[in-house]
């Protein structure tokens, strides 16, 4: 079975206003789906619904052809979600932060894997510095190290480029494309212009229009 996340006729209302309505969405292996739209158009809400965090929506979600309600455990075992807040504890060092995520994800591989993941995101030498002393961009990089540390099929990334410098952005873009080519799926929101490539698809939210699809 390969990756397939489907949404049918998805709608979400906030404060008597439809964020989106009649949204159809299909994420398969080898795709990067970018959700676009102005501020407040419901990008984060859509990502939270699709990652199973919000329940007040209309429509149907399915994972691998099964309704999300039944497939939730399998879905969560394959999901890596990075939210607006990086989920990095300021009082812990990057290594300790990653150790928790590693254990939580049940990922084998000890300290060596954590060192390697941190080196990959350019944090070599900062492994034992409390995250409070790192810059915002470096804290974001600690969160991004999880992409390498805990391999997951589906990445749901909410503004992953925030506070990342230009080199980091280029490397992360390549990482997303690499993940799609290796058979993974990526759902991403960003205000940063992604370099067009064969794997990239766009979904536009906002303006009350129901422009689902590509």
């Amino acid at each position: 079975m390969s990756l397939r996340l489907q949404a049918r006729n998805l709608a979400c209302e906030r404060d008597d206003r439809w964020l989106f309505r009649g949204l159809d969405l299909d994420i398969r292996a080898g795709e990067i789906v970018r959700v676009e739209g102005p501020n407040g158009s419901g990008k984060t809400t859509l990502l939270k619904i699709l990652s199973g965090q919000l329940a007040d929506y209309e429509g149907e979600l399915s994972w691998g052809g099964r309704p999300m309600r039944e497939a939730r455990e399998s879905f969560l075992a394959n999901l890596l979600y990075l939210g607006h807040s990086p989920g990095v504890k300021a009082a812990l060092t990057p290594l300790e932060n990653l150790a928790w995520y590693q254990a939580l994800a049940g990922q084998p591989g000890g300290e060596a894997a954590r060192f390697a993941a941190l080196e990959e995101v350019g944090l070599a030498g900062f492994e034992d510095v409390p995250a409070a002393q790192l810059s915002a961009g470096q804290q974001r990089r600690v969160a991004l190290a999880r992409l390498a540390l805990t391999p997951r099929l589906l990445w749901v990334l909410d503004e992953p480029f925030t506070a990342i410098d230009r080199d980091g952005v280029a490397a992360l873009e390549q990482r997303l494309v690499g993940h799609a080519r290796a058979g993974g799926g990526v759902l991403v929101t960003t205000h940063h212009g992604l370099t067009p490539c064969a794997e990239l698809r766009r979904i536009r939210l906002g303006g009350g229009a129901h422009d689902g699809g590509i």
Partner: protein, 245 residues
């Protein structure tokens, strides 16, 4: 960040049906992480203890230094003060995790949330309830608590504060999404603390009067067993409601 094309393990392309790795590993890692976090913010551990000591010091000053009078009300005073001290530290139980986004990560793990939440509560008890229980006999001397009831005071507080942590965590989980949940948390949780308070203070009274200690402690134990079974589920459900809102 190094380019990563082809660096991904082959296993990525396969859908996994089950969560990888053990629940025990995840629970142990959560325990360890929370312990380290609390020990690094030492003021959060010390605040309830200092609060407890100061409140108990106020009573002889405010009421009367007469040992006979103080001894009569000491069990209740010690228990109420310890209960309030435990309540004081509850608000921060999930709030830090909520603020930095690790709570939503906790909710997205394939492991059962109730057991991970139980690990967090266990750490709260270990660094709040247990130190309060160990400290209470010392403060008991200040209130001229009759000899022979000191051990019962510590044991009843150790048992009771575990229930208090569990019950309080439900309230903390419900109010974590609110900007100023502290007062609401007290209003929600304090009425639920009453049974624990009755049997906790009752155990110490019984020790002073010389009978029925075991019955009180047994009921405290039963309350704890009930809380251990039901509270984790309620905490998990409350966290989901808070995050949904």
């Amino acid at each position: 960040m190094a380019a990563s094309e082809g660096a991904l393990p082959k296993e990525v392309a396969v859908v996994h049906e089950e969560p990888r790795g053990g629940l025990a590993v995840a629970v142990w890692a959560t325990l360890k992480r929370d312990l380290v976090l609390l020990l690094r913010r030492r003021s959060e551990v010390l605040n309830p203890l200092v609060f407890f000591a100061i409140v108990i010091t106020l009573f002889p000053i405010g009421i009367s230094p007469d040992p006979a009078l103080l001894a009569a009300i000491a069990p209740g005073l010690l228990w109420v003060a310890a209960l309030l001290a435990a309540l004081l530290s509850l608000d921060s139980l999930f709030r830090a995790d909520y603020d930095d986004g690790s709570l939503e990560q906790l909710l997205l793990t394939p492991q059962p949330l109730a057991l991970l939440a139980l690990a967090k509560v266990a750490v709260h008890w270990l660094l709040t309830g247990l130190p309060l229980a160990l400290m209470a006999p010392v403060l008991g001397i200040m209130l001229a608590l009759p000899a022979g009831s000191y051990l019962v005071l510590a044991v009843s507080l150790a048992l009771g504060s575990a229930s208090l942590s569990l019950i309080g965590a439900i309230g903390a989980a419900l109010t974590v999404g609110l900007a100023r949940g502290g007062v609401l948390l007290s209003l929600l949780v304090l009425p639920l603390y009453i049974p624990v308070l009755i049997f906790g203070a009752g155990a110490v009274q019984a020790a002073i009067f010389g009978d029925g200690v075991l019955a009180h402690l047994a009921i405290l134990g039963a309350l704890l067993a009930l809380a251990l079974i039901l509270a984790p589920l309620a905490i998990a459900a409350s966290l989901r409601i808070s995050i949904n809102g």
